[in-house]
């Protein structure tokens, strides 16, 4: 079974065993549609083992630290309402953020789409004469394909988060918000380091501590000499202009503190109105994401502080489809997301297929509602069958676990159902719709007693196509559309009406 999920590209043989998952042109739409990609992923037993181990670990950790908090539900209510408030007051809050950052010596840029954001980052780096930037893991910069855009202009973007470094060294794609290399186990990571990391010790073992030390040595010189850093933002405080980044390793602090120039790419929905609103989110986020009471490091900075940290700060406010998501009153709740990844870790579908099957840098339940809205047509429409992303809302069992763990109470199941309805509506006008055709035929047969009896006799004849267990596993086209994903019980050899009539005769 193949695990190939990406866009075709000729690859060197020595890329094995890490590939093949080349970097796509569109970080929000790559690979095959979900059903095909999932089928391939399910055949990869190593992947399933890695994912099951990792998601079980993190689920247990999260459950333990959330149970410790007596007012968890009240915090969720507050978090959800603050995010609703942010969207309702978005124009005013963005203007206020811009003003407060500017007053503190920062420069605010606005970017309508990925290209515009990438261009701004590249221009800043070029103005500083930098051919290299150090990066903090950030979903926003993944979403806009910043690394590839910078590379095209001769600027190397160095990922400094351990998992992101693993992904970058393997020329892979991330498969999780928090742990982009969740699909790799320690032995695979050791092999990647040995093959691709300059200066990796030849006797490197697969102990996580040794691997972390190797990454420390590898990146230390980069940190101490980097001129420009690029980050995302977990929160931007409108009132004060303060930006917050939460992290674990200290790579974030290195990037936010040592280089002379800092560029932060922030989605326009990442705001909170006031500084004290952080008291809600700095409780919700760490416990939901890494399952810790608090993440090791949180950095908060406000514009430029003379003599401490970067003396040039650029904040790029990114739309890239977010205003389109905002158009839908139900779907816009996807913009409340604080990227904790709790919904990925509890999702029975994600646990089995992994992040790559979603064909977007936003996988899992939140990705299934966010990606199709970010990439779909405007006006709360679905692109329908022609867009692989239209299949994403179907990548769920609707079990509701994602809603229960969401720290900001995004009702993901309801939005999934809403998006499914949109996808079906979009397909209604298609030239040949097998479902509609079948329903039309059924309607014709069932509206006349004689025709219905004829149909019953025809159905009884198919009794023989089933196996010993009376199940049909494969039908020729167009029946294969049904049997491709499910079995079909054979019709009874005698219909109920036939049986009833015979019974009456024998009486």
């Amino acid at each position: 079974m193949s695990t190939f999920l990406g866009i075709p590209r000729r690859r060197e043989a020595d890329d094995e065993p890490f590939g093949p998952l080349p970097h796509p042109h569109e970080p929000l739409r790559w690979g095959e549609s979900f059903p095909r990609a999932a089928k391939a992923a399910l055949g990869n037993t190593q992947l399933r083992r890695n994912l099951a181990h990792a998601t079980t670990t993190i689920r247990d950790k999260r459950a333990r630290v959330v149970a410790e908090v007596p007012d968890w539900e009240a915090l969720r209510d507050a978090g959800s309402a603050v995010k609703q408030q942010v969207l309702a007051e978005l124009p005013e809050l963005l203007a206020r953020l811009e003003q407060s950052v500017t007053e503190r010596g920062g420069v605010v840029h606005w970017a309508r789409d990925a290209d515009e954001a990438n261009r701004i980052v590249a221009q800043i780096a070029e103005a500083k004469g930098a051919d290299e930037v150090v990066k903090i893991k950030s979903m926003a910069t993944q979403e806009i394909g910043l690394n590839e855009a910078l590379a095209a202009r001769g600027i190397a973007a160095i990922e400094t988060d351990l998992a992101e470094l693993i992904v970058q060294l393997a020329d892979d794609m991330p498969s999780h918000f928090l742990v982009p290399a969740i699909h790799r186990n320690r032995t695979e990571i050791r092999d990647i380091f040995l093959a691709r990391m300059a200066g990796a010790p030849a006797d490197l073992s697969d102990a996580p501590r040794e691997l972390a030390t190797a990454a420390r040595e590898h990146l230390r010189r980069k940190f101490l000499s980097a001129k420009v850093a690029v980050s995302g933002a977990n929160f931007g405080v409108a009132d004060t202009g303060t930006v917050a980044v939460v992290e674990s390793e200290g790579n974030g602090r290195m990037c936010l503190t040592l280089p002379e120039t800092l560029v932060t790419v922030m989605g326009i929905e990442k705001l909170v109105p006031t500084f004290t609103d952080l008291e809600v989110f700095l409780q919700l986020l760490p416990r939901s994401s890494t399952g810790e009471r608090m993440n090791p490091y949180t950095s908060l900075w406000t514009g430029v502080t003379p003599g401490d940290g970067p003396q040039e700060f650029h904040l790029i406010l990114l739309d890239n489809g977010r205003t389109k998501v905002l158009e839908d009153e139900v779907g816009r709740a996807a913009l409340h997301c604080i990227r904790c990844s709790a919904c990925l870790n509890v999702c029975p579908v994600y646990e089995r297929v992994g992040g790559h099957a979603y064909g977007s840098v936003y996988p899992g339940p939140i990705g299934a509602i966010l990606t199709p809205q970010l990439t779909g047509p405007s006006g709360a429409q679905s692109a329908g069958h022609d867009d692989p992303n239209a299949s994403l809302p179907f990548a769920s069992t609707l079990c509701g676990a994602c809603y229960e763990v969401c720290p900001v109470k995004i009702d993901i199941p309801s939005i999934l159902v809403d998006l499914r309805a949109r996808a079906v509506d979009a397909d209604r006008g298609r030239l040949v719709d097998p479902v509609a055709a079948a329903m039309k035929a059924a309607s014709w047969a069932m509206s006349d007693a004689g025709r219905f009896a004829g149909a019953e006799r025809a159905a009884a004849l198919t009794h023989r196509v089933g196996g010993k267990d009376h199940v049909v596993r494969r039908l020729p086209y167009p029946g294969s559309l049904w049997t491709g994903s499910r079995d079909l019980p054979v019709p009874a050899s005698r219909s109920f009406r036939r049986w009833w009539a015979d019974r009456k005769e024998s009486e």
Partner: protein, 213 residues
């Protein structure tokens, strides 16, 4: 074509429609804990959380502090000077032989910080519930770089700086929101390999907390 700023704001207003309904935020969560700031129970809780993160914790009296700082540095067995922010109480440092001061106006280079054995700082506030110590860049805590690049951080926390909950700390910090803040919860760590926590990546691999009670 209009500029990006106006266009994005126009798109947002169009998406929201006229007069989006105002949102009331329910704040039924705790804004303070049951434990009084600086109480022995709050300090016990803080110590428990810090130990859970594999930080070293020692309770000392004000008189014992200089010797405790010297001991913590000696225990590292590392070579190089000890970096301190220039606003740190000099009485704390009497047990140290090789001390270099750093400030915003006279900063040490990254290479000097990298060669240091340790850094000693004070703190702004500590959160017992989460085992978090917050530095806000004042003269006794120094530039963000000095508590980051050296491989060991000795942090002095006074009992009266310990609060129980996150909201108590945030409200205190909100008095000076523009100060650069670093929230530290244990030594640097990663869970990126199979989601197993490993202490010690890019930030200081050793965190010594001296609680002055």
């Amino acid at each position: 074509m209009s500029d990006a700023r106006s266009e994005i704001l126009i798109r947002i207003r169009a998406a929201l429609g006229p007069d989006p309904a105002p949102v009331e935020v329910p704040r039924a969560y705790r804004t303070a804990g049951d434990l009084a700031p600086g109480s022995p129970e709050a300090i016990d809780l803080l110590e428990d959380r810090l130990l859970d993160y594999k930080a070293h914790v020692r309770r000392v009296s004000a008189d014992e502090l200089p010797a405790a700082i010297a001991q913590a540095v000696a225990d590292l067995g590392a070579e190089g000077p000890v970096v301190v922010p220039d606003g740190l109480d000099p009485a704390w440092l009497t047990g140290l032989a090789d001390v270099v001061a750093d400030s915003r106006t006279a900063p040490r280079s990254n290479a000097e910080l990298d060669a240091a054995a340790a850094v000693v700082t004070a703190a702004r506030v500590a959160i017992a519930d989460t085992g978090t110590i917050v530095l806000d860049g004042e003269p006794d805590q120094g530039r963000r770089a000095i508590s980051l690049v050296p491989d060991a951080h000795v942090c002095v926390v006074r009992a009266d700086q310990v609060v129980q909950t996150v909201p108590e700390a945030v409200r205190l910090l909100a008095e000076h929101p523009a100060r650069p803040q670093t929230w530290v919860s244990g030594p640097s760590a990663t869970s990126d390999i199979e989601l197993s926590r490993v202490e010690g990546v890019h930030g200081p691999r050793t965190l010594h907390v001296l609680l002055v009670v």
